[in-house]
């Protein structure tokens, strides 16, 4: 039996190794969430537009992204971006672009379900008072869709936060990498991985409890 020594994790390690990774993981999560919801909503509107020229490309994009492993998508972007723009942009920026593009596909499916959950009468009412398509969506449909789907969007964000650890594939410095580096430098890899697991667990379970509470609150109002 190996004796674990968790005491070596002190503030110095946290500030030197962990903090940097944590900040990047959170940054990546928030940017991918914001970008993913925006582009995902656009994709959802394209799919619901009823116009083939918009629907088909969006469907191909969404289903394509969703049928490829995320690690492969990360590798693809890391390979293609320098190829297309002619220079390397670094693992961190590449990861951010990848996650926005990848998560858009997942958020778009959620937004599509959300938009479809808004009753048709709402759209007719908006049209009846003379609103344009843009106004109908912006002022009537999307706020309701967004609200209905808020718990699902947040749950997807928790999954997204977990998935950010996969930037390991291109060597970006995220939370997991921070723990790994600390473990390597201090010769305590086992403790480092254990602590990483605990930190991810605590963050994700607290977030999912918050989503659960939000869900019940929204349910009462409706």
């Amino acid at each position: 039996m190996l004796d674990l020594d968790l005491t070596f994790f002190d503030w110095e390690i946290i500030s030197r190794f962990i903090a940097k990774g944590f900040v990047f993981s959170v940054q990546l999560t928030l940017i991918a969430m914001a970008g993913g919801i925006v582009f995902g909503t656009v994709l959802a509107l394209m799919r619901l537009s009823g116009r083939k020229s918009l629907d088909v490309p969006a469907a191909v994009y969404v289903n394509g992204m969703r049928s490829i492993p995320l690690v492969m998508v990360i590798l693809w972007f890391y390979l293609l971006i320098p190829f297309l723009i002619g220079r390397s942009i670094g693992a961190e920026l590449s990861a951010i672009i990848t996650f926005v593009a990848f998560e858009s596909a997942y958020y778009s499916e959620i937004m599509r379900a959300g938009i479809q959950s808004v009753s048709r009468g709402q759209v007719y009412a908006a049209q009846a008072v003379g609103m344009s398509y843009g106004q109908t969506m912006r002022l009537v449909v999307l706020p309701q869709a967004f609200r209905n789907m808020l718990p699902v969007l947040l749950t997807q964000t928790i999954i997204l936060f977990q998935d950010t650890s996969l930037v390991y594939a291109i060597g970006a410095y995220d939370l997991l990498k921070g723990f790994e580096q600390a473990g390597k430098n201090y010769g305590r890899p086992i403790e480092a991985y254990l602590l990483a697991a605990v930190v991810y667990f605590v963050i994700c379970i607290s977030l999912s409890q918050m989503v659960k509470r939000l869900q019940t609150r929204i349910a009462i109002v409706r």
Binding site: P69, V71, I190, Y200, I205
Partner: protein, 236 residues
């Protein structure tokens, strides 16, 4: 922009006497093997845990819930590292196990939590009357599950299980991190060695899509065969 395709790269030697094509198909085999073994493990464990979460005994429910929360709230990559680096160091019996087996444990446990969640939802979607009727007929609780609840519940959860089965193929790609010779590992190494990343990634991506599609058709076939007439999707 014109790109100079060079598909011959697959016929070149990888330095050990086999072609990259042969290597890729061997890697595909590893991807499928990891996925299939983890799937069987996850299905067994997930069904058991999912069922436990619906029994009347509080203690079993608690164990089931804790299981799901633990395996759902830690990233898969971290779980793979735990099985690969931490478990063998803490438990001597795991010391000599190959990476393949450890990854199967990791992916199996990870997926079992998701399957447990689907199975629980499936069981709870049945009307309470089914359970009561079983018990009223004098069946014991295990027999009620065996003959009344589970046969219906499993049919209900086939569609979500289909997407889990497709997910497991995608998730097996994370095994690259502990050097299991599966397709993503192949893609990374072959890209580095040949610098023909686009051709290699395209081929690997296509194989992932083919695999997921095959699983989808297989599950759809199962779904058709076990249909119960008179229920949604049945009676055709």
């Amino acid at each position: 922009m014109t790109y100079q395709w060079e598909w011959q790269v697959f016929l070149s030697d990888d330095g050990s006497g086999r072609t990259y094509l042969a290597w890729m198909f061997s890697a595909w085999g590893w991807t499928l093997a990891v996925s299939a073994c983890s799937w069987i493990f996850a299905l067994l464990a997930g069904s058991l845990i999912g069922t436990l979460r619906t029994v009347p005994q509080r203690g079993w429910q608690w164990i089931g819930n804790a299981w799901v929360e633990v395996f759902r709230n830690v990233p898969l990559l971290v779980q793979i590292f735990l099985w690969y680096h931490v478990v063998p160091a803490l438990i001597p019996a795991f010391k000599d196990l190959p990476a393949f087996v450890l990854v199967v444990f990791a992916l199996g446990f990870f997926t079992s939590a998701r399957i447990a969640e689907q199975v629980r939802a499936g069981i709870q979607s049945l009307s309470r009357g089914q359970r009561m009727a079983g018990l009223a007929l004098g069946l014991t609780l295990p027999k009620t599950y065996r003959y009344v609840i589970l046969p219906m519940a499993f049919r209900i959860v086939i569609p979500p299980l289909t997407s889990e089965a497709m997910n497991i193929i995608k998730n097996s790609s994370v095994a690259f991190a502990v050097s299991v010779a599966e397709m993503t590992m192949f893609a990374m190494q072959a890209q580095e060695e040949t610098s023909r990343g686009i051709e290699i990634y395209l081929a690997v991506t296509a194989l992932y899509i083919v695999s997921a599609f095959a699983v989808n058709r297989l599950m759809a076939g199962i779904e058709r065969r076990v249909r119960v007439p008179g229920y949604i999707g049945g009676a055709k």
